[in-house]
Symmetry: C2
Amino acid sequence: MRRVHLETSIHDALLGLCARAKAAARALRPVARAPKDHALRLLAERLRAAAEPGSALLAENALDVAAARAAGLAEALVDRLVLDGPRIGAMVDAVLEIASFDDPVGEVIGMKRRPNGLLVGQARIPLGVIAMIYEARPNVTVDAAALCLKSGNAVLLRGGKEAARSNLALGAIVRDAIAAAGLPADAVQIVPAGDREQMKALIGLTGQIDLVIPRGGEGLIRFVAEHARVPVIEHYKGVCHLFVDEGADLDMALRLVENGKLQRPGVCNALECLLVHRAVAAPLLARVAGLADRGLELRVDAEGLPLAPGATPATDDDFGREFLAPILAVRVIGSLDEALDHIARHGSRHTEVICTASYDRSQRFLREVDASCVLVNASTRFNDGGQLGLGAEIGISTTKLHAYGPMGLESLTARKWIAYGDGQTRT
Amino acid sequence: MRRVHLETSIHDALLGLCARAKAAARALRPVARAPKDHALRLLAERLRAAAEPGSALLAENALDVAAARAAGLAEALVDRLVLDGPRIGAMVDAVLEIASFDDPVGEVIGMKRRPNGLLVGQARIPLGVIAMIYEARPNVTVDAAALCLKSGNAVLLRGGKEAARSNLALGAIVRDAIAAAGLPADAVQIVPAGDREQMKALIGLTGQIDLVIPRGGEGLIRFVAEHARVPVIEHYKGVCHLFVDEGADLDMALRLVENGKLQRPGVCNALECLLVHRAVAAPLLARVAGLADRGLELRVDAEGLPLAPGATPATDDDFGREFLAPILAVRVIGSLDEALDHIARHGSRHTEVICTASYDRSQRFLREVDASCVLVNASTRFNDGGQLGLGAEIGISTTKLHAYGPMGLESLTARKWIAYGDGQTRT
């Protein structure tokens, strides 16, 4: 009985949050750009003030950090939690950048007159109520709040337990700024950090939430995808390949390996696997093996192994794997078709690159590879909202529906049809 | 044990269908428009031949119809199953119309050069593997197959049990036509009609299916939404409202009531509820009540009841209800705000109309109503792919994500990012 009561009360509490979010979303629907930008600028000011020593935000954050250390959390994870002047400064910059973007809402496209005189088109509108589910980094709280507010959406922010106090403190700052701009504070609500049952209840609220965006490790994303009863956009792992074609410029190929794998190995658009054409395998692998002094570990298939001094043999598991570390799987192949087959089998629809001098093969690669971003002669690291010109991104979708690739402000909107008539009826 | 084996074998059989669909989708990815249109024209020819007496299609259909009658299916439902010359002719017309549409695949938008020289844009691509789940009408089999093929997608068609033989026969015709055009027949596969467990297994195949589109009654759609582990676009009921504002042209308002409610009461964009401003309630309801001789039944709130001779009192349940019959709920209200509140509470985000002479109120209605189609001074019946200029539609989405409103060919596609570089790396 106790459990049933508990679940009912969790469910009721979440429904309460959703009802307030829906009301806020409705109030935001007709709001123009200026008041939203005003709220964002007030938020930036308040965040700047909260970066001063002795602020409530820093005090709450210190409690989160101390609790995480006491609980024995790995120092790398503790580090993600920490807020300090420079990190809060980065949040301020992000908020001001979002304020500078065009408002995606209200744009009307494709307006045309139908034969019966009806004028029809599509107007861009906010999605409504968005739930963000994420892990330890408190900066996501501010980023997501700012992006959702700018696009006219209400958002429920459900961060990790480790950052619970920091997120509540950030939420209070955001809500104050929104209210001070005359907009509904309930446009941003912090969902109290809870267990997986609570998360399940949240993402099971059919009809209450228009979109759930999970951001975090694969475990979190799988849990959300498995249990959601509302639309989800997933941001799965990036198993990104570089195919170096015969006849490719090997200096360029080496730069793409180095940049893709070593510039920032822990991110989803880092390179995980090098496919190299047999015709250029010997010279390229000899040079790639030279990156060992930069900390690169190579796991190479049987054919390539003798060509890469110091490399270890690859196992089957090394293909299709996201290492998130300076480790690169390598396979020698005989043709573009083999590369396409390998990518179709082992890729994660995230980012795929061909390094080639062949016009035909570049065109085939662009057409035939199914991934959110397909590049010719450029680093995998360019699959990023900022790099592709979208401005801030809320994540990189590997779901094809609605958004595929980096999700900017526009992906937090939908389009409704509008029609201006003068009494038209159907016959 | 028996059950476990059975489930395993269903699951394996479905995985086999998905693997063939994936391979076909990959083969279709680079296919240009001409071969796809050729397949559609061959399909039209073969369907025309199958309309001749004695065809295998008509024989199989007759068996479905006889089985349905023997099972005591209501005659209205039996009628949906029947294929005859005119109905097959309508299928042929639909297929030829789809052949005449532009190919949505391949269009590249927003191509621009980034500061580092990288040329980036978005290319429209097929979604991949689509599953259609629908009920008795066999014409959906041909429509969905043609729309999916034209947009470069492979499709799994899972129709109702009642139409099982007809669907298999239609599937064979479609597959023959595709193969004759040199394209992979597995682009269209008929999933053998099964029970709900089989449907659950199908929509649980994470990673195998890019989109499920359920079409049918609310029960079917709820079942799919509840059990799907792959993305779903729902086509829920249409609870469409007409708000007649003070000062509105009452001749026009009457025409909109008549057209919305009586032209075709059984469809999702039919009118279900009239909200009438107090200032015009008396003259309008007197005239609407006159539609009783056309078979209209009115269910009117307490304030309007004395104004509508012959009407019955509305119950609370009559608001927010999809009658799918010549029954209209009526409520008298005092302002645009009350109308907006009523629609926010009882609407189904399908189609909403204002009949007004006021510029301000038309603008507020267009901006503030959240529905897939919002119209001023036109019938609800215009929320339709053909009427809005999309050509054929695969359904009307009331999910905001990806597609909101009528789904044409474009909504069966996604956009991937493409980038042309000359060795760019990130710094």
